[in-house]
C-alpha cells in the first residue's frame, strides 16, 4: 500500500462553551489514500462534520483543535502537519490541497453572486488567473461536472438552479483549484434518490480521472457500501471501528457497527416486521458516559469493565482497528482498574 495523502492521528477538537467543554472530536485516527474513498459514518452529532472542519482549520468559535496531528503529504513529497499551521498559512491549503463539498447546496452558496463569480474566486486567489481566464476555467469546470449550457449557466445565480445542478456546481467549485483531497460532507443528503445516484456517479468518475482522495461523510450505510473503499465508524467523537468496506460489512466487530448494519432497511425483509433500531439515544454532550461511551446502549456490555474503563484502539487484522473490550484490551484495563478506587 502506498503512503497516505492525509494521515490523521489522535485528532481532538473541543468546544469551550459557558456550560463546559464539549469534546466533539476525541481522538480520531484515519488515513486517506490517493484514488480511494474513506467513508466516515455515524449518527448526527457524532463529530463527523467537525472532523472535516478540523482538517481544514475552519472550526467555528468557540471550537478549537486541541490535539493530534494531521499530516498532509503534498505533491512535492513534503509532509506538513496542518495542525501546526497558522490560519494565514493554512489558507493556501484550502482549495488547492483540500476542498470541501457541503450538505446543503442551497444554503452553502451565497445568493448575492453568480455561480461564475463564486467558482472563479478561488481560481483567481490560488492560481493567479485574471477575471477572464477565471471565468473560462469556471465554464470548463461546469462542463466537466455535467452542467448543460455551461457558458450561459455561469452567469446564473444559485437560486435559479435545481438542487441537483447546485450540487454539481458545488463540486465544480470544490475542484476549481485541483485539490488532491476532497471532503464531501453529506453531499447527497438533501437530494432525491435519482439525483443522489447521479452525484455519487459523478464523484466516482472524477476520482478515477484525477486520482482524488475522497473523505465521504454520511449517515447512510447504503452510500458507504456503494462508494467507499475504507470505512471509519464514529460514535461520540471517536472512531470505534475502522477497516476496509468489505470486511466491515461482512464481519462487523464492534457492537455499534453491527447495530448500525442491522438497522438498514432491506427489500428482502419479511413484510410487517419491525426494523431493528439501536436502543436508547445519543447521550447529551455534557453528560458523556464514563468508561466506553457506547456502554449504556450496548447489547453486549461486559459489566464492571465497560462502565469504568475506556477501551483502547486494538489492531485486529491488517489495517483494521476496533475500540471494544470484546476484541482486546481487557487485561490492561483490569490491571488499571485494580489500582483505582471502584
Amino acid at each position: 500500500m502506498a503512503e497516505p495523502i492525509l494521515s490523521v492521528r489522535g485528532l481532538k477538537t473541543q468546544f469551550f462553551g459557558p456550560e463546559g467543554v464539549v469534546r466533539a472530536v476525541d481522538g480520531v485516527d484515519f488515513d486517506v489514500f490517493e484514488g480511494r474513498t474513506l467513508g466516515v459514518v455515524g449518527e448526527s452529532g457524532c463529530g463527523k462534520s467537525v472532523t472535516a472542519r478540523s482538517v481544514l482549520g475552519i472550526v467555528d468559535r468557540p471550537g478549537k483543535v486541541v490535539g493530534g496531528s494531521m499530516k498532509l503529504r503534498r505533491a512535492s513529497g513534503e509532509v506538513v502537519d496542518l495542525g501546526t499551521l497558522t490560519n494565514e498559512q493554512m489558507r493556501k491549503y484550502r482549495g488547492p490541497e483540500i476542498a470541501l463539498v457541503f450538505q446543503e447546496p442551497m444554503a452553502s452558496f451565497s445568493q448575492h453572486y453568480t455561480i461564475g463569480n463564486q467558482i472563479g474566486e478561488g481560481i483567481k486567489l490560488h492560481m493567479g488567473l485574471d477575471e477572464r481566464a477565471a471565468k473560462k476555467r469556471a465554464i470548463e469546470l461546469l462542463d466537466m461536472v455535467g452542467v448543460p449550457q455551461p457558458a450561459r449557466r455561469v452567469d446564473d445565480y444559485p437560486f435559479q438552479l435545481s438542487g441537483g445542478l447546485r450540487q454539481r456546481v458545488m463540486i465544480a467549485m470544490a475542484l476549481s483549484c485541483d485539490p488532491r483531497v476532497l471532503i464531501a460532507d453529506e453531499p447527497t443528503t438533501a437530494l432525491d434518490v435519482t439525483t443522489q445516484a447521479q452525484i455519487l456517479d459523478l464523484l466516482r468518475t472524477l476520482q478515477k480521472d484525477r486520482g482524488l482522495a475522497i473523505i465521504l461523510i454520511t449517515h447512510d450505510m447504503g452510500v458507504i457500501a456503494e462508494m467507499a473503499h475504507d470505512v471509519s465508524v464514529m460514535y461520540l467523537g471517536r472512531a470505534v471501528e475502522t477497516g476496509s468496506v468489505k470486511e466491515i460489512f461482512e464481519t462487523p466487530k464492534h457492537p455499534y457497527t453491527r447495530a448500525l448494519l442491522r438497522s438498514i432497511p432491506t427489500v428482502l425483509a419479511k413484510p410487517r416486521t419491525r426494523l431493528p433500531t439501536i436502543a436508547g439515544s445519543i447521550p447529551h454532550p455534557f453528560d458523556r458516559p464514563k468508561g466506553c461511551s457506547y456502554h449504556p446502549r450496548c447489547a453486549e456490555i461486559i459489566g464492571a469493565v465497560c462502565e469504568r474503563a475506556e477501551p483502547p484502539a486494538v489492531d485486529t487484522d491488517d489495517r483494521r482497528q476496533v475500540r471494544c473490550f470484546l476484541h482486546g484490551g481487557m487485561e490492561e484495563a483490569k490491571a488499571g482498574l485494580q489500582g483505582a478506587p471502584a
Binding site: 467555528d60 484550502r94 470541501l100 451565497s110 453572486y113 474566486e121 445565480y157 437560486f159
Partner: protein, 329 residues
C-alpha cells in the same frame, strides 16, 4: 425590469395625487380658516378687523367656496408651477420655502452619510466581536442613543460646545452670513456648520441601524455559505465583507426612504432648538396659522420626497439583492 420601473413610476404619480387630496383634507379639518386665525392673532395684539375686511380676505383666497372647488383650483395652479401665495407671509409659497428645501435635502443627505458611516463599521464590528468589551460599550451607547430624544442631545451638545469651546452652535450659517447672497464664502460657512446638526440628527437613526446591522449580521455569520467562503481560502476580512455583510445590507437601502420625511416631521423640535433653517419649523408655523397654501405645499412636497425616496431605495435594493431583481421578470 424596465416594465417594473415604469409601473412603479406610474404608481408613484397616483400615490402623490392621493397624498395631495389627503393633505388638503387634513389641512381643512380644523374648525375655522386662515382669516379666523388671522383675526384672532390681530385681536390679541389689540387691533380689530372689520367684517367687510374679513369678507374681502375670504374672497381673495377663495375660502368661501366648497372644498372640492378649492382643491381643484389649487391643483390646477400647481400643475402650471404656481403653488399659490402664503397668506401669512404675503409672498409666493415657493419664495417662502426657497432655500429651506435645498438645505433640508442637504441636511438629510449629510445625516444619511453620517448614519451609514457610523452604523456600518460599528454594526459589523459588534457582530464579528460579539460579547466583546467594545460590543458591550457600543450596545450601551446605542441604547442611550435610541432612548434619549435628540433635541435633548442637541441642548446638551450646545451647552458643552459653548462652555468648552465658546462656540455658539445653532443654525446652518454664522449670523453675518445668514442673509448674505450666495457666494463661495457662504458655501464654506455652510460646510463648517453642517457636521454638528447632521451628527445630532443622525444619532438616533444610527443607534437603531447599528442594532439592526448587528442582529442581521449575526444571523448571516452562522450561515453555511460563510463556511464555504472560508473553505476556499479567502481571508477572514474578505469572507465577511463579501458574503455576510452584503447579505445584511438590505436595511441600509430601505433606510433611504424614511430619512427625508423623518428629517422634516420627526425632527421639528431639534430644528427649532438648533435654529436650523429647514422646512420642519416652517410647516409647524403654517399649520398653526392655518396658512393652507404653504402647509399644503409642504405636505405635498413631503409626500413627493417620500415617494421618490421609496423609489430610490427600491432601485438600490434591486441592485443589492439579485433575488429581488429576478423576481421582477
Amino acid at each position: 425590469m424596465i416594465a417594473f420601473i415604469t409601473r412603479r413610476l406610474l404608481l408613484g404619480v397616483v400615490t402623490i395625487f392621493l397624498i395631495s387630496v389627503l393633505s388638503f383634507i387634513i389641512i381643512q379639518l380644523p374648525p375655522g380658516d386662515f382669516v379666523d386665525a388671522y383675526i384672532a392673532q390681530l385681536s390679541s395684539s389689540g387691533s380689530q378687523v372689520s367684517a367687510a375686511e374679513a369678507e374681502n380676505l375670504r374672497q381673495l383666497y377663495g375660502l368661501g367656496e366648497p372644498f372640492y372647488v378649492q382643491y381643484g383650483k389649487w391643483l390646477g395652479r400647481i400643475i402650471t408651477g404656481d403653488f399659490g401665495e402664503s397668506m401669512e407671509w404675503r409672498r409666493p409659497v415657493t419664495e417662502v420655502i426657497g432655500d429651506r428645501l435645498w438645505l433640508t435635502l442637504l441636511l438629510s443627505f449629510a445625516a444619511l452619510i453620517v448614519t451609514w458611516g457610523l452604523a456600518l463599521p460599528i454594526g459589523i464590528f459588534s457582530a464579528v466581536r460579539q460579547y466583546s468589551f467594545a460590543d458591550y460599550a457600543f450596545t450601551l451607547v446605542g441604547f442611550i442613543g435610541i432612548a434619549v430624544p435628540n433635541f435633548l442631545l442637541a441642548l446638551v451638545i450646545m451647552y458643552f460646545a459653548f462652555v468648552w469651546f465658546g462656540a455658539s452652535v445653532g443654525g446652518l450659517f454664522s449670523a453675518e452670513m445668514a442673509l448674505a447672497p450666495w457666494s463661495a464664502a457662504k458655501v464654506w460657512d455652510l460646510i463648517k456648520h453642517l457636521p454638528l446638526p447632521a451628527i445630532i440628527l443622525a444619532l438616533g437613526g444610527t443607534a437603531q441601524l447599528i442594532r439592526i446591522m448587528r442582529a442581521n449580521l449575526l444571523d448571516e455569520l452562522r450561515r453555511p455559505y460563510v463556511v464555504t467562503a472560508r473553505a476556499k481560502g479567502l481571508s477572514e476580512a474578505r469572507t465577511i465583507i463579501k458574503y455576510p455583510v452584503r447579505a445584511a445590507l438590505n436595511p441600509f437601502a430601505s433606510n433611504i426612504a424614511y430619512l427625508f420625511p423623518y428629517l422634516v416631521s420627526g425632527s421639528i423640535i431639534v430644528s427649532i432648538v438648533l435654529g436650523l433653517p429647514t422646512v420642519g419649523p416652517l410647516l409647524v408655523k403654517a399649520l398653526v396659522a392655518q396658512d393652507m397654501f404653504l402647509a399644503g405645499t409642504i405636505v405635498l412636497l413631503l409626500g413627493v420626497m417620500t415617494v421618490i425616496g421609496t423609489f430610490i431605495s427600491d432601485l438600490v435594493l434591486m441592485w443589492v439583492d439579485p433575488r429581488i431583481r429576478h423576481q421582477m421578470d
